[in-house]
Amino acid sequence: MRSTRPLASLLAVLVLVATCPTAVRAQNVDRDKRLREVTEGSIALLERYLAAIDRSEFELDALAKTLGKDVSEIYTFVSCGIRNQAYAGALRGAAGCLRSGAGNSVDKSMLLRSLLDRAGYSTRLVVGEAGDELLDDIYGCTQVADPYRGDLDFPYSIESATIQAERTRALHEMERRLDTRLGVLRKILGPIEEGLSGAVENEATGRPWRADARRHVWVQVERDGKWMDLDPSCLWGETGEVYGGEGRAVQALPDELWHTVTLRGIEECFEGGKSLPREIFLWRTRACDLAGRALVLSWRKGSAGGAAALGGALGGAPGGGEASRLVLRLDGEQVATGALDFHRSGASGGGLGLGGLGGLAGGSGGGASGPSTVAVGIEAILEGPGREPLTARRYLVDRWGFAARAMGDLEALKRLRSDDGAADALEHTALCFACEPGSINPAELQARTLTAALESWRALAVQNGRLHIAGRLPGDASARLLGDAYYHLYDRTWERLSPVERYATSPRLVMVRLRRSAGRVRMDFDVTHEALRYRPRQPEVAPARWRFMAGLLSAIAEEEITTDPLASLPRPAYGAARALEALGVGTTARGFSAGAELPKALPAALRGYLSSAATGGKTIVLPGELPAGDSLGWFELDSESGDLRAWMADGLHSGTEYGSITGGKGEEDTAEASGLGNAARGIYRCAAQHLDTVLEAVATGSIDPLDAALGAAECVANAKDANVKRKLERQARRELEKRIKRAEREFRRNDDFRRWFHREFKPGQVVSGGGRHNPDLKPEQLADALDLWERLGRPFVK
């Protein structure tokens, strides 16, 4: 009996060894099955959501199909369904006007014409002028809240339940803080708000919006061999009536009415002891042609690295291989390109000894020809009627460095040694521009979000109980999504900060930086005037801007304020400073004016720059505790103008500039208000980048795949309710707006309705605002009146 024990043990071990893989396999099969169920279920659900979205809110073809061929129906949609906004020229075009739900007479006419063309009518435009009375009638009438604005969230993403919960909590907390701070902000914004209001409403300044909107455009449609006028800007308008006086019929708008965007690729080279710019490419297009389209700048490396290096060795002559290029693509199609060679030899006099064979050869050659690349960047120029050109430059690579560039320190250039890392940085960089002059339509944003989420799900594969990214992740779509989300929040924040609606129509150019690495996608994004300075290879950590915002804000939040360095500032700088404080930035920051001693911990070059800025009248606001490395950020406050700019030492944030499309005084005020909005936007940025982090986590398998999938599925399922709720709310808002606009229209032009209202409806109403002596009606009262009048059979008052 004893002798059988070892045998039994051996058998047991053998059985265990034999069955264990089977158990694991069975477990994996079970997990695979569950994962597939979850994945396929989510895809099916997302597809249904996507199909349910009303595309007529943002797609011209879908809208044209909905409206049919009735001229009156099409005209009424544009005149009553699209709000009037006063600005100059053709900015949004038909597609942008529909997306925004608003436009001036030019853009609304382009939308109307586009819809009529789709319905098969022959049309033309008429360009005339509007008098003050007509302008007041068009732009001064009751404006209800924009129905296209809604709450924004990222309901569709691949997240574990834990991360989702944390993200939701963080979002709510951020929203709460934002609300609190904005509440305080409103109380202390006095000087700035006065400035904003004055720019628009002060009669003595000539009310610049009138000049912007003076050029009045409407549409003519051919009916039975005659041209019939349709003026979509007139809420009370009727087909066949002309309101803008005599005009000139044209098939195409004159050139001077178009807003344009010019993009210019630039390279700076160190040559003859100076940094000289060189144009890589130049591309110009109409602003409205970019509405809703993806503009991507990418770097295409030459076919053979040796060839490039050899080119450098030969003194800058092109090598035998294909040259590396910067390529600009619009919706995937190349629209501009230019050659760029990082491996040219160094400057003469031993200034720059460059890496690689080219650098060695050039340097040893002593006086070898060819400039050396210091920086690569892109410049965007926005031009249009009624405004000065707005230029923004952004560096993809800047070897010179922020402080040295600002101080014109050429010695720093001479110390540069290698281009290797610079070229590498470009290799991993693509820029996605989203130029959309106008508001973002939430329905479109939702459709894009769903599409990106759907593509993400489809890119996932299940194998051995794990999720893998097997397909192509929607990199560009995600970048656009974040850019759009950013817009949206920007608009909301802007709207809350500024009491002047008109400023929300400023054209903006958003650039999204997209970096790919081993199947992972990292994104960050910002508005126009930012410079990305080259940073040497670093571990892949959270984006520096995020670190900056987190570092600065948390340092500020944790530290007690001991003195108020801003109290001595004159207005309006004081107002801007207090606003910053309300946003949580100023509470522990330290202010430095001219003569003050800057912290010794600052790098010498930066100390030099900051001292120079302080001497020039700027107040420098630094965080109480200086973060280590390049992530230091600071604010510069102009005591004269109140202009407020945020900067970062690593070049990731080099200040922001905005311009209102109307130009003139408003621009200064706009810059002020946008400075205030900057801090608020940073908060959202942190939340948006969660998406990126989570995708990365799934890619690297750092969270349980089943947990991630279940969390995401739950997220999708929960989103259903939110989706439906938002949709219904939006529909209700749109319906109410339509009712109100129709009621206003009838009220203004229909004597029967007005007299019935006067005799029968008015005595039962409580009039609001202004008391007995200057009462007014709520828009809803008018809508109710029209409903009742129509239910009664539109009675005629005897």
């Binding site: 009375e133 019939m228 002309v242 009220f747 203004r748 007299r755 006067h758 005799r759 005595p763």
Partner: protein
């Protein structure tokens, strides 16, 4: 321009409204609107749709004279009598100055009979001013 006179009852006087309306038919036949249950319970009578303010004043004085008895009955029963003139866009647009003088005798008549009075300016655009029609 469009002038109406309204009879506005509290709950206690609601029952009297049909009687008053019938009596007013004798004073201004065909001008009275429907009884409205409210709140407040009421009916209105159209006084004038004339183009000039003077004609409206004349219509007002005439009605106050003809309907004095009915108005007195209404007032005695706690029913408010209220005159309201709608000034429409065509009545003031394109003018440098628009006045609505109320002579003393009208004020006195209104006051004596306990009739309140208001002008209501309506937004809009005069149909035939500044716009020319090119019907296809």
């Amino acid at each position: 321009m469009y002038t109406v006179i309204r009879f506005l009852a509290e709950e206690s006087g609601e029952a009297l409204l049909p009687t008053l309306k019938a009596r007013l038919q004798g004073v201004s036949p065909g001008e009275s609107g429907e009884l409205h249950p409210g709140p407040p319970p009421r009916f209105s009578v159209s006084l004038s749709r004339a183009r000039t303010w003077e004609e409206h004043l004349a219509a007002l004085l005439s009605f106050l004279a003809r309907g004095a008895e009915v108005i007195a009955t209404a007032r005695a029963s706690g029913i408010r009598v209220h005159m309201d003139t709608a000034v429409e866009p065509g009545d003031y647009q394109g003018r440098m100055l628009t006045c609505f003088p109320v002579p003393l005798e009208h004020l006195r008549a209104l006051s004596d009979q306990g009739v309140s009075f208001e002008l209501s300016f309506y937004a809009g655009r005069a149909r035939r001013r500044g716009a020319k029609t090119r019907k296809a």
